[in-house]
Subunit: 348 residues, 3 copies
């Protein structure tokens, strides 16, 4: 679908400068601007691109003043970035949505399916499952027996939810994510592992987004809990009986070992590992690739493996490459001091 | 299904203290105890919870003596933890099991399917596949041509097994695991990679459990071998031609590069990386996030990247944050020694 | 299928030494050689195995001279390794290939399917999808609306490609890989994350291979680009708006954060993490488990987290275990220098 500069300006309550009839059908970054697209200028570092961009329309802040002629049509708005986001949201919402039940899906007779639900081909919905209104269950999704899913959720192709897990409203789960597989729990006799049945489930609250191929294991008893507003990137591992606090975000490939608790409003960088039974205080910031092996206080900003305060981490990092020289220097100094001592003894 | 305290005590040969008619239908941890559940007290650290828990029944060791009134019904048994595990096992086994072949599955005419096998909808079973008795092939599983699977295996939804791989008896493979994808093998000419066909397979022995979204690549020739009793957590990578020894356990997100051999009875922490062609001695313990770039002896307990003995690792870890201060201290000392030397020369 | 030594020698233009009628049907490594297989000897380190191998045929370089009797039939060729590779390629090509459309697949009426395409059961091909000639779409693959796929591609079971992504010719994508899931993009208001619609796509050029369960996110706008000849191993994360240069190879479990650019002809070891918006110069070599937080020059060979030149990395690594001793040594030295100073003052 294409929109003219005038249509867009009307929607955003902005002012057109240039050809108001030019139309665009996609977005682009200003430095990669292409004909037929709309871009934006929010960060002054990118100002130079506005004079060369091939984008047909550029959203700019209302205080923008051009220093040279600009080929693109401009739309002046209060805040170019916010305007862009609202435009993307609009386009996203106006994209035709999947609906109805495609042939060759499997829906148990005992499942309760809400209104306006999309069920794709080869999706499997087990016994006594509840799927709330307006959910989208894409092709090849598996929903095990007894699972309950709230309203307005999107389960992308190939999501797997094991039996008896519970998902809140407005959740988005991406392809290949596995919710509720058995926790890694065994008792050990001599060298042989005996499986401990994992009798609990996974409980995901509202407004959670879960990335592609991320895995969240069911609890041994009780629930592995993902609280409201949590955002998990791809390929993350959440072990059994963990609890992830509200509005905490984790970048890709983070691993959280069993029974760890992550406080609310925290941010974990990519590839971080959290040890079992660890508690991370709320509002924490943990740098990428960190390893956490002891509890941390509220508001910690830490990095390293094992982690320590991030400011010190970078200072220490600068020293690491100097270690071989320090080692030589230290040993040379030791010799010198021994000599000095010797000479001093002779003087005495 | 609900059980009364009396029924449970009879099964466990324990003694009821309290209301023998109270019934429970689920398990809970004592600190999270909920009405309608049974919990247990094994670790003395948790004793205080027994006076406040909302669980209706608590398993306790026979020597437990209460100091205050307890609301819950107690069942005294020899070993509360073992009793709990056997109870979980019982409940697990009594859960109604899937059976039969659901509609819309694809089973090649040349496949041999054992007795009492469950085949879920949208499962794909290729040519000349053998599936042993009592296996459960959940929906959306893919079993490639020529694959052989033993008895009593569980393949959860979305497991993929490429052609000609072999799986033993009593194996459990979780959703999204990929067994037998091509190893990462190329010959390089100038900058261009040419694929080397991966002609081998994956051989998984008995009693192996493989976590969700874990990947085990097929050998270039011969077999990538996972020996009996190995337990792999989620999101693990096992490259081509690796061999994992009996009863070795790996936590999530471990990566093993090509042709590495891991000795039996070893334990690898989360996010460990093992280099190509490395041999890890049996009975080894490797700490989380370690990187192993040389062979290790039997019984090694190591950590770090690159790894060294774990005791030293923690000692060194304490020093790392002090490096900036050490660096200053060392340079200050060097100056001082130079001055001392100078003054001493003047004295001479 | 079995081939005799004579048939193989004729194909390779080699010379048979021994029984030219012995036949083999598989490959093996010389140290694991089994009856009925052909092996090869290229690396002199493995020469001793030729006298004991159970392989029926061994390819050897034409200058090979035996020192003892050898049971196996030998085939002398110019280059044993190249001969082996060409033989594997031949066998691989002669393996019967899947073709046609299996029942119970879902192909939109508006999709354009090329000639000689295989479409497996439970595969889903959405609206306006284009699939080029000679592609193999294995069972349970998902191809979203508007996706375009070139010629000769192989999509293994359970690959997911979200809408509007573009794949070139001769690409191989392994099971469970997810192409085009939403990038991890939010705006934050107080503590609450608001999703930014991810309006771009993923663009994969020709000759790319993507490992099992690897994830490549779609761009927020524009494209996440994987250039020609890139080889990605399993469980890799490529975030939104990244650009991976031609013929770059990455080992398993690498994570690339948003908008990073990796130069062509680079090699990244396993579990490497690259920070957001980082640029890696072409022809770089990055050691396993490294963490990259600043731009790197062309031809860099680096390692560590944060990374520095690989030669220094190994030198520093040797010092790390000595840090506790260095710390004691430094403090002891400081005391001694203070004493010396004291005594010197007394002398003055």
């Amino acid at each position: 679908m294409a929109y003219t500069a005038k249509q867009i300006a009307d929607y955003l309550k902005g002012e057109v400068i240039g050809n108001q009839d030019v139309s665009v059908s996609n977005f682009s970054k200003i430095e990669e601007g292409k004909p037929g697209t709309i871009s934006f200028l929010a960060n002054p570092k990118y100002t130079s691109y506005i004079y060369t961009t091939k984008a047909d329309i550029v959203l700019v802040n209302e205080d923008f003043v051009s220093e040279k002629p600009i080929q693109a049509t401009l739309i002046k708005v209060k805040n170019a970035y916010t305007a862009l986001a609202s435009l993307m949201e609009l386009v996203n919402k106006s994209t035709p949505q999947k609906s109805g039940t495609e042939s060759m899906s499997f829906v148990s007779e005992t499942a309760e399916i809400g209104e306006e639900v999309y069920i794709g081909a080869f999706a499997y919905i087990g016994e006594k499952v509840v799927v709330g209104d307006n959910c989208k269950v894409y092709p090849q999704v598996y929903i095990g027996d007894g699972v309950k899913i709230g309203k307005n959720c999107i389960l992308y192709p190939g999501v797997r939810i094991y039996h008896d897990c519970v998902i809140g409203d407005n959740c988005i789960i991406h392809s290949g994510a596995v919710i509720g597989a058995d926790g890694f729990g065994y008792s050990k006799e001599e060298y042989v592992y005996h499986k401990i049945p994992q009798m609990g489930n996974v409980l995901i609250e509202d407004d959670v987004e879960i990335g592609a191929n991320t895995t969240i294991d069911r609890a041994v008893m009780g629930s592995t809990v993902i609280h409201r507003g949590v955002k998990l990137d791809n390929l993350i591992q959440i072990a059994h009986n963990c609890e992830i606090g509200e509005n905490t975000a984790m970048a890709a490939q983070v691993g959280i070992a069993g029974s760890a608790k992550i406080g609310e409003n925290s941010v974990l960088g990519g590839q971080v590992g959290i040890g079992g039974h660890i508690t991370i205080g709320k509002n924490s910031q943990i740098g990428a690739q960190s390893g956490i092996i002891s509890n941390t206080k509220e508001g910690s900003e830490i990095m390293g493996s094992p982690a320590f305060p991030v400011k010190n981490f970078f200072k220490s990092s600068i020293i690491i490459p100097k270690l071989p020289d320090m080692y030589k220097q230290l040993n040379a100094l030791e010799k010198e001091v021994a000599e000095l001592k010797n000479r001093l003894q002779q003087i005495d």
